[in-house]
């Protein structure tokens, strides 16, 4: 802990890492609340895995065709938004089984990513950091991008808040009021996509879904209003990412995994706590 603090003052990559976790918690707390309430965590998980395809493609084309401006994150944003729209349109329009389409997209996205990464000449160690996250590699440029996406997510949520809540609560009623239900559903999915992209840098593709859903799951045991759940989830996200970073620093553990374990542990404790409380109540 103390060595983390002294290093934090000196090492800019550590400062970046801490900031990245804090910034991305804002988006995950806000959007995660919609994701959990609308019960679409599996869609968020599918989007996060699809991202590998975009990352792989962007890296491949940038190396092979020497496109220096093309960064993996561009591919990530594009593939996340594209998969969100595909899943959204399929679940609204087609008679196709929605979960089948989602799993197909999930696996195909990853497969494409692996092929691209395999065929990209040169150094290929990055695959692991995409899958499991490497918060210590976050650069100043990444931070700016995370901040911009954060701003976008928060601004859109503030503008469309009432409509999004109404659609999550009772889609059919909203439709009878003439609210453009499909637009708001796609909006929630696109915000999810953007949030997934910026969370990938912190905990990696595989563990994104935990950082999006666990803080909300914990908060919803203590708060019974959407706004309260959102704010407490943001706070919890910040606590988890920061303490994940701090705890993993000295023993040199992967910080993403420590963050998620911490969140899982707290979630487990809240479940146990509330079931004990209920048993106690029923005894009395």
């Amino acid at each position: 802990m103390s060595s983390f603090m002294t290093d934090l003052v000196e090492l800019s990559f550590l400062q970046n890492a801490l900031l990245a976790g804090i910034l991305c918690s804002i988006a995950t707390g806000v959007v995660g609340t919609f994701v959990v309430l609308r019960r679409i965590t599996y869609i968020a998980a599918a989007i996060s895995h699809c991202i590998l395809g975009g990352i792989g493609a962007a890296r491949y084309f940038s190396v092979v065709y020497a496109l220096d401006w093309l960064k993996p994150v561009h591919g990530a944003i594009l593939s996340a938004l594209a998969s969100a729209l595909v899943i959204g349109l399929v679940s609204m329009r087609a008679r196709e089984r929605e979960d089948t389409v989602i799993s197909a997209l999930w696996a195909v996205g990853m497969a494409a990513g692996i092929i691209f990464i395999f065929k990209t000449p040169g150094y290929n160690e990055d695959l692991m950091s995409y899958l499991f996250g490497n918060i210590l590699m976050v650069s100043r440029d990444d931070l700016i991008l995370v901040a911009v996406l954060d701003l976008l997510v928060v601004a859109l949520t503030m503008v469309f808040y009432r409509q999004m809540i109404a659609v999550c609560f009772d889609e059919e009623f909203a439709r009878t009021r003439g609210v453009r239900v499909e637009f708001y559903y796609l909006l929630v999915l696109c915000l999810t996509a953007l949030t997934v992209v910026l969370t990938v840098s912190v905990v990696g593709i595989i563990m994104v879904i935990a950082l999006i859903s666990l803080p909300v799951a914990i908060s919803s045991r203590f708060f019974n209003r959407v706004s309260g759940i959102m704010m407490f989830s943001v706070f919890l996200g910040m606590v988890f990412t920061s303490s994940g970073l701090i705890l993993s620093y000295e023993p040199n553990l992967p910080s993403g995994a420590v963050t998620i374990l911490l969140a899982g542990l707290v979630y487990l404790m809240t479940i146990l706590f509330s079931s004990f409380k209920e048993i106690f109540k029923s005894k009395v």
Binding site: L37, R162, A166, D170, V179, R225
Partner: protein, 256 residues
């Protein structure tokens, strides 16, 4: 209240899949001020009929007009009360927030609900008989209270017609009587059409009964005489006489 025809369904057919018609050749007129009850067996097309009037689904053929316009263009004339079992009962919103969702419409607006809207919402809760519950969590309400809150949500936008989908399905006989008190009050301001799960009996507050089983029949209702049945259903129910047919909208009985 005038007795003009405000809802007309003419030769309406509807099918979810092309091979089976859920509704066939439906002709129906509903007058302003009516309190109509749609009854019929499960899968008979009751809720489908309601959804057609709401414009949530479109007929294969035939026309539906509400105040002379298509259902989609008459959305602001209709207040809809869905079955409360349809959505996540643990959703973290206050009762007042649920009611104010009724203000949202086609025209986008952002920011908070206005003070005036809040006043209207509180008044609607009062009218629905759950005035004191505005600040409670929707999740903490009983089935009946939730249903009443949803009625309040349906009326805040100032509709003229109320469409209710099995509003009393989760409520005991005693509670149902209180519900009909509320409906009777509301019927002074709104034309009410409700779907009921009960085939044999309807409250005697209902003014007309529409039976749906793929096709549509309008049946007369007769006062209950059997005391046993009175005991089962409590006071104030009418037997629907499925063995009789009425002319459209009328109750003159013709032996079939």
């Amino acid at each position: 209240m005038s007795h003009d025809i405000i809802i007309t369904l003419a030769d309406v057919d509807f099918s979810y899949q092309s091979d089976f018609k859920v509704l066939k050749n439906i002709n129906l007129n509903i007058c302003a001020g009516d309190f109509a009850c749609i009854v019929g067996p499960n899968g008979g097309g009751k809720t489908t009929l309601l959804k057609l009037m709401l414009g949530l689904i479109k007929p294969d053929s035939g026309t539906i007009s509400i105040f002379g316009r298509s259902p989609e263009k008459s959305l602001n004339k209709i207040g809809y009360v869905p079955q409360h079992t349809k959505f996540d009962s643990n959703f973290p919103v206050s009762v007042l927030d649920v009611v104010m969702m009724g203000f949202l419409d086609r025209n986008f607006s952002w920011g908070r609900y206005s003070r005036q809207q809040k006043e209207i919402a509180l008044q609607a809760l009062e009218e629905a008989g759950v005035g004191g519950l505005a600040d409670k969590s929707f999740a903490d309400l009983s089935g009946g209270q939730r249903q009443r809150a949803l009625v309040a949500r349906a009326i805040v936008s100032g509709p003229q017609i109320l469409l209710l989908d099995e509003p009393t399905s989760n409520i005991d006989i005693h509670g149902t009587e209180h519900f009909y008190d509320m409906f009777e009050q509301l019927n002074r301001k709104f034309t009410i059409i409700m779907v009921s799960h009960d085939i044999g009996f309807v409250s005697n507050r209902v003014k007309s009964v529409i039976c749906v089983r793929q096709t549509l029949q309008i049946h007369p209702i007769s006062e209950l005489t059997g005391e046993t049945l009175q005991n089962i259903y409590g006071a104030g129910v009418n037997v629907i006489r499925h063995d009789h047919r009425c002319s459209e909208g009328g109750h003159s009985c013709l032996h079939s």
